[in-house]
Symmetry: D2
Subunit: 332 residues, 4 copies
C-alpha cells in the first residue's frame, strides 16, 4: 500500500492534505495527530487511519513521512523532531516567522540529511505550471517582466492577523515564491509600499491590507506584485510574464464557465471565492510530488531553502515600507 504518512494537525489544511494522501497512488494515510483528540479521530475515521500523539508518530517505525499542518510557531520544532526521527517531512509555509530560527532549523535538516519539502502549493497549480513550462520551452524568449496579481476575497479574522507575521509573511510569501519560480534568477532588491485601505482594524494591529511590491533581479528583470485583502469579485490569482519574444499569462479560474447575455451586457460568474476550491488540483499534485520525491529518492522542490528565501523577501519588504527605499537582499 505504499508509504505511510502521518498528518499533524487536523484543521482546514490538514483535511486537505489527508484527502490528497488518500487519493495518491503509493501513499497511505496512516495516522492523524491533533491537540483536539476529537478532531484527530474524525479525520482518521474518514480514511480508516489511526490517531496518535505526536511522540507516537515520531517513534513509530512504520511511519515513513509526516505532513505538518500545525500552527506556525510549532513548525521549526516539529521539523527538527521528525528530522531526528528519520522521517520525510512536508511542512506548510512558513517554517517560522524568524529568519534566524529558520536558518537554525534548516541547519539541522541539512546535517541530518533529512528530506524537507515546503508547502508552496501554487507551484503545482496546472495553469501556473503551464506558464513555467512554456518559459522553460523558450516560448517567450528571455523573461523580462513578471506581474503577479494576488488578492483575497476577504481579510482573515483579527486573531489570525495577529499571529500571521503580517501580510508579507502570510500572503505575499506565496507571490515571492512564485516570482522566484518564474524569474529563475535570484532577486537583488525589494521595494514595497503598503496601506490600510480595507479595514482600519488591520492597521491597528500594525499590519497592512493593500500592498504593491517591485522586485529587481541582478540582471535587471522586474517583478511587480499587487496584493489586497479584499476582492469583491472572488479570489483573484493571475500571472503574466513578458519576455523578449512573447508573453504568457495564466487566467483567473471560476467554478462554472457560462456567460449570460442580457440588456445589461455579458455576465460571467464570479471567481472561486476560496483558496481550497481554487487550488484543489494544486494541493493534490503537491502531495503527489512529495510522495514521488520519497519513493524515487529525489530532492523535493520547493525545499527549505525556498522557504528561507521567500521569508527573506518578506523581511526586505517590511524594511522597505519602513524606510521608503529599495532594500537589497544582502542587507537581510
Amino acid at each position: 500500500m505504499g508509504i505511510k504518512v502521518g498528518v499533524l494537525g487536523a484543521g482546514r489544511i490538514g483535511k486537505v492534505h489527508a484527502k490528497a494522501i488518500s487519493s495518491t497512488a503509493g501513499a497511505e494515510l496512516y495516522a492523524v495527530s491533533d491537540a483536539f483528540p476529537d478532531a484527530a479521530q474524525a479525520l482518521a475515521d474518514q480514511y480508516g487511519a489511526r490517531t496518535a500523539a505526536i511522540d507516537e508518530v515520531s517513534d513509530d517505525t512504520n511511519v515513513d513521512a509526516v505532513v505538518i499542518c500545525t500552527p506556525t510557531d510549532t513548525h521549526a520544532d516539529l521539523i527538527e523532531k521528525f528530522a531526528h526521527a528519520g522521517k520525510a517531512i512536508f511542512c506548510e509555509k512558513p517554517i517560522d516567522l524568524s529568519l534566524e530560527r529558520v536558518k537554525a532549523c534548516l541547519n539541522t535538516v541539512e546535517k541530518l540529511g533529512a528530506t524537507l519539502m515546503l508547502g508552496f502549493n501554487r507551484r503545482f497549480d496546472p495553469h501556473f505550471k503551464a506558464v513555467r513550462d512554456a518559459i522553460e520551452e523558450g516560448r517567450i524568449g528571455d523573461v523580462e517582466m513578471v506581474q503577479i496579481t494576488s488578492r483575497d476575497p476577504g481579510a482573515p479574522p483579527p486573531d489570525y492577523i495577529q499571529v500571521s507575521g503580517g501580510i508579507f509573511r502570510d500572503m505575499t510569501i506565496h507571490d515571492f515564491d512564485m516570482a522566484r519560480y518564474l524569474l529563475a534568477e535570484e532577486i537583488a532588491s525589494v521595494y514595497a509600499t503598503a496601506s490600510v485601505l480595507v479595514d482600519p482594524q488591520i492597521g491597528k494591529l500594525g499590519d497592512y491590507d493593500s500592498a504593491t511590491i517591485v522586485l529587481t533581479t541582478v540582471s535587471g528583470k522586474h517583478c511587480s506584485i499587487s496584493n489586497s485583502r479584499r476582492a469583491s469579485y472572488g479570489y483573484d490569482q493571475r500571472i503574466e510574464v513578458h519576455g523578449s519574444r512573447g508573453a504568457i499569462a495564466a487566467e483567473n479560474q471560476r467554478p462554472v464557465s457560462i456567460e449570460l447575455a442580457t440588456s445589461e451586457g455579458y455576465l460571467k460568474p464570479p471567481l472561486h471565492d476560496f483558496f481550497m476550491t481554487r487550488y484543489t488540483e494544486a494541493y493534490a499534485a503537491e502531495i503527489a510530488a512529495f510522495v514521488d520525491a520519497i519513493v524515487n529518492n529525489r530532492a523535493p522542490a520547493p525545499n527549505g531553502e525556498d522557504g528561507l528565501r521567500a521569508l527573506a523577501l518578506a523581511e526586505a519588504a517590511l524594511k522597505s515600507v519602513a524606510e521608503r527605499r529599495a532594500v537589497g537582499l544582502d542587507e537581510i
Copy 2:
C-alpha cells in the same frame, strides 16, 4: 477629384453611403436625389454637393456612377434606367422581391454591359472578411460546416414588415449571401423552420420573427442560420466555419471593450445595438470597392447574380416552411 457619384435616396442608408463616398479617395459626392427636396438638400449641403431630380442625374454626363438607396420597389426600374444611361450602378439589396423581375432586370444589365454591384455590406466587414481570407489561405482545410447567428436587437415597425418581402427576403438574405461567400460552392437545397415567438403582430402580417435554416451543398457541406428579430443583448452577428483541419470564428462586436468585476460577476457591455454602428467599417469598404471597380475597370463583387441567388434561396426557404421539407434550388 475622381469619379462623380449621385446618391438616389437621402434616407438612413443614403446618408451612410453619402458619407462613405465623401471619405473615399478617388470619389466625389456630386448629386443627391430624393422625393423629399428638403432631405436631398440637407444631405447635399453637408458634403458640398448639388441636388437633382433623378432624370437630371441620368442625363448629366458628369455623373459616373449612382448609388441606389430608394425603396425596394423602385430598384429594378432605376437599375435599368441608369444602365441605359451608361452609369456604373451600386444598388442596395434586394433588386426586387420578384425573382422574375430580377431576372429581367439582370438581362438588361447584361445586354448593356453595365457595371452593377449589390449592397451585401457584410462581405466587407473586416472580421468576416478575415474569416473568408483564412479559409482561402487554407488555414482550416476544406470547409465542412458553417454556422451563422444573425439576430436583430428589435423588430422593424409593421409598416416596414408589410413591404419587406418577409424575414427571408429582408433579413436572412444577408445570411444567404454570407453562406454562399463562405461555402464557395453553390447550395443544392434549403430547409427552413420559422415561428412567431417575438410579436404576434408580425404573425398577423403573414411573416415570421424567428427562423432556423439549413443549407446543403452538392458535395454535402452544411450551413445553419439562426435568425431572430429580438436580441435583448444587442445586434448578434457571428460566424463560425468548421473545416477539415480547424475552425475559424468571427466574434461579436461592441462599442467599448471593458470588463467590470463585482460580486455579481464579470460584466462586459452589450453589443452594438444598430447595424449602422456595427457595420461602419463595412459600409466604407463596400463603397471603396465599388469605386475601385469603376476606376480600375474590374468586375464588381457582389454582383447582380449574387443578388439573384440570395433571393432564390429566400424563395426556397419560404417554400420549405410551407411544405415542411428540403426544397431543391432546381425547383425555384
Copy 3:
C-alpha cells in the same frame, strides 16, 4: 459503508463509474463482472472489491444496485434481469438500438417498479447544468432557440461504427437528450441532413460523419445541432440558449487556461481531447445522483422514458435524412 454496487463491464466507461462509486459518500464498489476475468480482477483489485459472474451479482442479496457498462446489445436483457432481481439499475445509453425492444424493456421495468437511471452524463456537467439552472431561474425569459455544437476530436474505429447504430443513435443521442433537457417542451418534428465529409470508410458502413439537425417544438421553439466526427481543435462541446430576455451559453473547456502572446497572435491551448477528461465532473455527479436517488428513494432522472425519447428522435432523424423532409415524432 452505504449501498453496495456491482459494476457490469470493466472497460473504459466501467472504470470511470467504478472510480466514481468509490469516491461517492454512501456507496461502495462491491463487485465487478466482465467477460474477461482479468479485466474484472484488475478493476476489482484497484478498489478492494470482489469479482463475480453476472448471475452471482443478481443473486447476491448484499448487492443494492448495478451499473451496466456492457455492450449495447446486452443492455435490455440485463436491465430486465436486474429489475427482476430487485436491484436499482444505472444503464449506459442506449437501452437498445430497437425502439420496440426499448419499449418492451421499459414495460418490464415499470411493472416491476424498478429504479432505472440512464447514463446521459452531460446533464450533470456543471457548466451545462448552470445553463439549465439559469433558464429555470428565468434569467433569459422564455426559451426560444437552442444551439448545440457537439463535435468529436476523431471518429471511432470501423468495428465500433458497425455496432453503434449510426451517428444519430450513438453521438447525437446525447444532444437530443440535451435539447429536451433545455427546451423543457416535447419536440414535434425533426429535420436532419447528414454527409460523409471526414472518412469515406464511414460512408461504406452506411453511416455519416457530419450532420446538422433542426428540432421544432409544438409551440415553435427551435433547436439546431451541429455534429462532426472530426474536430482538430479538440472535443467541441458548446451550448447556447436564446430567450425572450437574454441568452446563456456554456463555453468549451480546456485542461489549462493560459494564453501565449507572440508575433503570431494570442494562443490558447486546444480543448480537452477526450470525453473522459472533458466530463470528469459530470461522471462523478451522475453516480452521486444515482446513489442519492436510491438512498433517498427519489425518482431518478434521466430515466428510461428519457432514453426512449432520445432514441425516437434518432429514428426520426434517420427517416428525415432518407426522405429529405421534417419528420413528425408522431410518425415514429
Copy 4:
C-alpha cells in the same frame, strides 16, 4: 464652416490631427506650416487648405486656433507666441523637457488668459474613458489600486531616443497622466526601477527600455506601471482599476477579432502594432474636445497644469532610479 485651425508641423502626428480637424463638425483645416514646404503643401492639398509660414499663421486674423505638432524643443516658444497672438492652442506633449521652462511658459499662458490643451490622447480612448466613467459612476466603489500596462511594439530609432528626454518623459508620461486621470487624487511619491533589456544601444544613450514604476497617493492608493520598448505581440495598452466594491479593466485592441482553432490551439490575431491605428478614435475625439472647448468657451482638459504634473512625475522617476528610493513630489 466653423473655427479655422492651423496645423504646425506636417509630420506623422500633424497628418493625424489635420484629418481629425477636417472630419470635425464646426472646424476647418485652414492652414498648414512645416519647415519642409513640400510636406506642408502635400498635407494642405489633401484637405483644400493653404500653406503658410508660422508667422503668417500667427498674424492671420482668420485663424482661431493652432495645433502644435512640431519637434518638442519648439513647443514652449510656439505656445507663448500663439498665446500672445490670441489663438487657442492645442500642443502635443510634452511642453518642454525642462520643468523650469514649462513653468515659465504656463505662467505666460495664464497671464494672457490663453486657451491651452495638451495632447494626452489616451484620455479620449473610448475604452479608457469608459473605465473612468465607470469609476465616476461609483461602480467599483473607492479606487484603491491602478495597474497600467503600456508596452510599445518596438523601440524608436536612436536619433529619436537622444532628443526624447528618455523613457519616462517620452513614454511613461502618457501613463503618468492616465494614473492621475484614474486615481483622481494627487500623487505623493514615485518609485521606479529601470533596465536595459531590449537594446544595449539604448543603454549607451543613457536611457532605459524597460521600467516598472509605483506611484503612491497621499491617502495610500497605489498605481503600478509596466513599460517596455518591445512587445512582439503588438501595442500592449491595458488598464485595470481595483476598488472597494469591484474592479474594472480596459482590454487590448486588435484590428480584427477572429479566432482560429487548430490542433495548435485557439489563435487570435496580434494587437494593433502602431499607436495611430490603436488610438484612431482617441485622436478624433481629442480634437473634437478641443474644438468644443473653443466654441463653447469651456476650460480645456487636459491642460497645461496636467502637462506640468506628468512631467514632474517623470523627473521624480528619474531621481528614484538614481537614488533607489521613493521620491516625494515635494522634492521636485
